[in-house]
């Protein structure tokens, strides 16, 4: 039992180890920022499945690069962007989109497995692409990561308001002149870039822990369009950086630490959200509409029926 514990948590020589993974910690902080912000739109636009689909093709690209001995980040970027373009071009309607993702995803995973099977290098490299790694971030990779993150952040800053409008309220946004149709493939590209860099740290299988869970957690506790992305970023950063630091001395991949922290935050937020719904936001339901002409208040049942 004690052995098992030491496999999972081992903090001997911690200071020395910390120096070795400085790059990974910086990468984690960057990913937290990007993941938290992009995740807000992933949840608003109901795209978690697209995230998963893109990540499998990104994985194929990365493993292809590993096999060819070229830059792995560049490889995963190529895979991601191809997937994002395919989804953006073919899947304009939500229903089409999901089946196209369902078709692309196993193909990408299959390709990736093929490339890894042919690859004769270190086994840790292979496994890392699927389940995450910390030691593999060298300076070249870090600069790729930071560069891509900068592109994502610039695009997000430009698109922020119209993208929010188009995501939550497409009809009125379109009436107000927002190019709703053009924004969808554009955001898919941003998403592709974010997935490609996330894979480097948390692995292809667990990208959602960065691009969905933190944003979903934040939206449980706030409805403010300013606080939600800020909290989401905070949660994502705490998850990746915290997960990296916990994983440091152990022989286990980084992802279980990251996913556990991220999931725990989500559970706590869900609890807080449930309480808030019943108290602050929900209390209003018991009050009659002050100063208005309605003679009666809707019963809660009628409200639910009206929303159906």
């Amino acid at each position: 039992m004690n052995d098992l514990w030491h496999q999972i948590f081992n903090f001997s020589d911690y200071g020395a180890l910390l120096g070795l993974v400085k790059n990974s910690l910086v990468a984690g902080a960057i990913l937290g920022l990007v993941g938290g912000l992009v995740g807000t739109f992933v949840v608003m636009r109901d795209l978690p499945f697209a995230v998963h689909g893109i990540s499998e093709l990104s994985f194929a690209g990365a493993s292809g690069a590993l096999l060819l001995g070229t830059n792995v980040v560049a490889g995963s970027l190529v895979g991601s962007l191809l997937a994002a373009c395919a989804i953006g071009a073919l899947g304009i309607r939500a229903r089409d989109r999901n089946s196209i993702i369902g078709v692309l995803m196993p193909f990408g995973l299959g390709l990736g497995v093929l490339f890894l099977a042919l690859y004769k290098g270190r086994a840790a490299n292979k496994f890392g692409l699927l389940t995450g790694q910390i030691v593999a971030v060298d300076t070249v990779q870090l600069s790729w990561l930071a560069g891509t993150a900068a592109v994502i952040l610039i695009l997000l800053v430009i698109l922020w308001r119209p993208l929010t409008f188009a995501s939550v309220d497409p009809e009125v946004a379109s009436a107000r002149g927002v190019p709703v149709r053009a924004l969808a493939p554009l955001f898919t590209i941003v998403l592709g870039l974010a997935v490609a860099i996330s894979i480097q740290i948390v692995g292809a299988l667990l990208v959602l822990t960065l691009l969905c869970t933190p944003a979903a957690a934040a939206m449980r506790v706030t409805a403010s369009p300013v606080k939600a992305p800020l909290l989401s970023t905070l949660f994502a950063t705490v998850s990746v950086v915290g997960g990296t630091m916990l994983a440091l001395g152990s022989s286990i991949p980084i992802s279980p630490y990251v996913t556990t922290i991220s999931f725990t935050i989500y559970l706590v937020c869900r609890g807080i959200g449930a309480v808030r719904t019943r108290t602050t936001w929900g209390r209003r339901k018991a009050l009659p509409y002050a100063g208005q002409s309605e003679a009666r208040t809707e019963a809660p049942a009628a409200r639910l029926a009206g929303k159906g």
């Binding site: 409008f165 939550v168 946004a173 939206m219 719904t277 936001w281 309605e294 003679a295 809707e298």
Partner: protein
Amino acid sequence: MISLRDAALSYGERVLWRDLTLEVGRGEFLAVLGPNGSGKTSLLRALLGQVPLSAGTLTIDGRPPRRGSAIVGYIPQQKSLAPNTPLRSRDLVRLGIDGHRWGIGRGGPAIRRRVEELLADVGAAPYADVPVGMLSGGEQQRVRVAQALATDPRILLCDEPLLSLDLNHQRAITELLDRRRRTRDTTVVFVTHEINPILAMVDRVLYLAGGRFSVGTVSEVMTSQTLSELYGTTVDVIRTGGRIVVAGAADASGSSHHSGSAKEAGT
């Protein structure tokens, strides 16, 4: 304010309406009725500059329609928003002010005050900070009115805004629209399945059916004779207790609440 001349709209072979000539004046309340697929929503889309006419001309305040024009406000039908949508009522209204602009956008006290005013005007101030996903249908539509008025438009386009609201909320919303047009001379184009909630305020009716149309006051258009000619089959229009009931028209009943397919060619 709105001027249509020999206007036609068709998708491929299918002609929704043609030879439509119509002037809608300042402060006029025009109801657009007709069965599903008759081109009511497409007419709104043309007015919004989202689809071009296939023939004829359309001008709004003397100019061709333009997407995102500030002189046109749009109120969609009520629909449920995801409960975790990270927007409050005030944020939805604010998107109506500057949501179409690029960049992040810093609120500032001027915009904040404007949002407060708009919400107070429609009686939505008590739930300004409530997440939009938790609003009732009637509350959501009040906020929609505030959002549509954000640019102080001179024309309000309403696409079945009363659908799935109970009678009290239907009345509250129509009163808001009527007050706006009386106090500010705003033109209202109101697409609906159901004329009764707006009977008291309608100036003219545009009835679309089977590629044809009829325009006039309620008592001119809503008659057995006119509607029978439009549909090419016997349609009975019955006036009872201040209400109008249309019987016999395929999918054009005066009281049905079907939505879904009414949104033909929606985005």
